[in-house]
Symmetry: C5
Subunit: 264 residues, 5 copies
């Protein structure tokens, strides 16, 4: 019954879409997602109790403000969206935000919070990390370096997992050589999954109560599970004081998909 | 006084029931519950404060939406329901959902949350695991394998218990042989209870802050208690970093029983 | 000013009382409180914010529904009530429920929650345990067995304390003999308080995140304090991983006393 | 603008004051604060959201009910008040209550909660302890005993600090002699601060998840900080499993000062 | 559309500004920020749900009350403001308050809480520390002392980070010499960042559940990250029991900037 109304409003939405989308290309997505020296922020949001009480028309108006804020900041930040609802505890949405400066990320989040849509969001958690050149890879054998460069299988990787990590004081107290040897064992354990599980590492010490944020994308969750199980078995894992808590599991969605799903 | 009204509405409910129930058989329940490579999700819900304020007629309307969502997803997911209220902390309902892909589970939970019934639910917690072929059983003595195949006593097993488990880094650092020996001792301790306590194991590493989810069904809680006590005494238990927290204890209910109980 | 109204309503209450009280004797209180194989459930409740806003007349109506639910289940469960307000954190009432089957306890708690009174209750926590024949006592010296049978001083014991206990994996890994020796030292430490502090033990492994629930009654809190201090000094205490958290301290009240206190 | 109204109402307040104050002397404050065998309860309260929305006149009416409850129980309990707001996490007021029996403390807290003022209070935490004769002092050298009897500097000590303490199982497993030696070192560390920092110790084992509640009064917070720093350096501190969590810091206020401050 | 109104009201704001600002200079900011024996309080606030529902005009009126309270207390306390929203968990604002006496800080926070603006603030956390003369620096080599006196790079340092620290009992049990040697290694690790990362240390033992509050300012977050990483690698870090939890990350803002940002 309200489906017709929703369809009509969705139509309006997609008509408004193209008008703003030409600003979209401003920030160099590829560069921000691959270069070192970029800040990655993971913010987990839950809806407040009032969101569920809004009628579809109001929701779409509010979701339009989300789209507006995202467009407005596309020049400085790259934003990825994940649907956590149903898969992660007391959380509905994850924003992954890349920026050259955390100030720009804060400005986006301030505007998001002030928007009509943001009024319904409670920030459940936020984590920051920095991309850096690999620490240990330069010393790895040539074959391992090659294997790490294997191109991952093409096609969508719908699942994303974020795992915060804190190492023990003992880990940091080891000399670089010992850590490098253990990281080589760690890396060897990941090689069988290079094709099906994409990884990205953020360094967090000082920016958060963490040392690292490990980010994964996959279409084969079972492979991801096997990968983690392998990582639990290497010596380096004994120097891990926190792994997860929370483990954030969700599905990647485009902004338009999120809007469509949340409008219902 | 309102009992008559409830009875009338319940009647309506059961009349609506059969009309939708023929879709019910779509997903192969038996296969999803016994095969490896299936994802099991345990979601614990509590009612919000407003649920208690609804009159019985409204509740039944809302519960009908629950039935609708369950039917709608029966093609892809297998859903079991447990009543936790009174037996577990700040929780009312547990859904156990089996699916070939976690995306399908998420789609069910999204629709559940958007339904008239879902608006009253707060998700207290969610855990995911994967069914796998037994790791250690192939190496067990023949007699033990036979004993494990003992058919459990027929009849209803009203109690269900879910125990999340995390092993220590030391456990995963042991070689497969040592772990196998300890798992044999562990398994021997469970044999006296094979008939009265049904067990099912889900592997969680990476999908959650856990390594395993242990699921139990029994009609004799005292036997289940004795089983856990036996498991606490074997060597493998010293490598367990988390056992429970929470321990989820409830009673198995059919969808219709849940509807009847919650309508009151 | 409203005191007169309250008195009138209280009168009504006591007039309704006797009419239902003849069902009260159904469950054999003595047997359920002394035999092994009985489940003891401890549920801690806090009032929601709306309770304090009800006028005395409404409260009494609601409290009458509490009395109704208690009577209705007296056939299957034995219920004891404790006032926690002021003595325990964020808690107002404790129900101790004994039953042959946890299902019966759940049925009582479901009806309690659905009642007019239950709508004001938030379940803060719940713990389950099972009564069992003593594990170690049979091997104790005859004198110690005699001492344990000392009849406790007659008269009311207004204070009740509930202490959840979890032992370490090391404890369960010890052989029965070593544990028995330590439990004998433990028991010797309790003997000076046999007369003034009543104890009852529930076994919880698997039913909850605990191994034991220790329940105490006393009129001399100072003796109870000395008892716990003595128990902290024996060797067995080093194998205790959790003791309290929470410690629940309250005063025992009859249903009528609770009603009178809460009506004000 | 509303200041005039507040002044008028405050005047009314002080006019009502003397009429009730002659009951005040009933409980022997001096005895309850110095003798062993007295229960000390520390209850931390925060205001609910509605308190801030009350107009000054309503607040004063409510505060009058606080004064009434305090007067009504002065025969059995000695009450001290501390303002925590701004200095301690999510807390506004601390009541320290001394009584011969915890039942009397509970009766006061029940009446406080039922009062017009109490409806705005959420109990954030409660801790109980018992005063006892010194354990180790009798064995200390004569000079140390003398030093401990140094009269503290006269004048107001506006700051009060409450620190809950739990010792490790290892501590209680040491023999009395070893503990006495360490407590002598501990006491020596406190001597430089005897004049400026008043201390009082409550024994909690069994009454709470604590072994001790340490209570301090001072006008020189810097001295108190130096005292704690000294105590962290003695051997006995290694046997402390919990120190603070929370540390409660506030300023001592008379009932009239609290009323005046909260009326605004 | 409401932007015009906001601009008008902002204008009013800045017109009112100068009239009160001449009181501002009363407390000697420079002295309070550099001398020993000064108390530093860090209070983290989050807005309540109602703040987001206020229209811009009402917000500006409320923010004016914030400005009023700050001015009113400028004689006794020095106040710095930081915007946490978007960068720290469930927090919006941080106040850093310096005062000769914590009572003065409490008086400011009481007035802040009572103000029209304060009614929208929930205090998420508060930490207190004391500035002291350096403990270990006097024994450092002359070159290191010189290096520590390097003037930091001029220009704004927009980022501020606050890290609460608790040392282990083992740390305090070490003799002064051993601690001094380790602090020299610690200090050496910080030297490469003296120019770009400003540090300030507060001593907390007894005032809070902490031993230290470390406060940092920088315009180069990457340098700050490298600094923390270096500190994790020195021996002294193994004696750190708590580092962060929470790590508070925000951007420094003047009162006028905060007002402008929050008015929107």
């Amino acid at each position: 019954m309200t489906r017709l109304l929703v369809t009509g409003l969705m139509l309006m939405w997609f008509m408004v879409g193209p008008w703003v989308s030409h600003i979209q290309a401003a920030a160099d997505r590829e560069k921000l997602l691959t270069e070192p020296g970029v800040y990655g922020t993971f913010t987990v949001f839950a809806f407040n109790e009032e969101w569920a009480k809004q009628d579809p028309a109001t929701r779409i108006v509010r979701l339009t403000s989300l789209k507006g804020v995202v467009e407005q900041h596309r020049e400085h930040v790259v934003i990825d969206l994940y649907l956590l609802r149903g898969l992660s505890d007391q959380a509905d949405l994850l924003f992954r935000i890349h920026a050259k400066e955390l100030r720009e990320t804060q400005e986006f989040l301030l505007d998001l919070k002030s928007s009509q849509f943001g009024k319904h969001l409670k920030m459940v958690g936020v984590m920051h990390g920095l991309t850096k050149k690999p620490n240990y890879v330069p010393g790895f054998p040539a074959q391992m370096k090659d294997d790490l460069n294997t191109i991952s299988e093409p096609g969508q990787k719908p699942y994303a997992i974020v795992i915060p990590i804190r190492k023990s004081a003992e880990w940091w107290g080891l000399d670089q050589e010992k850590r490098a040897a253990m990281m080589q064992e760690h890396t060897a354990a990941t090689l069988p999954y290079v094709k099906t599980v994409k990884r990205k590492l953020y360094h967090s010490s000082g920016l958060d109560d963490l040392d690292f944020i490990a980010y994964f994308e996959t279409s084969k969750l079972e492979d991801f599970h096997s990968l983690v199980l392998s990582l639990e078995k290497v010596q380096e894992f004994r120097y891990t004081r926190r792994f997860g808590h929370p483990t954030i599991l969700g599905t990647m969605k485009s902004l338009d998909e999120v809007v469509e799903l949340l409008a219902q």
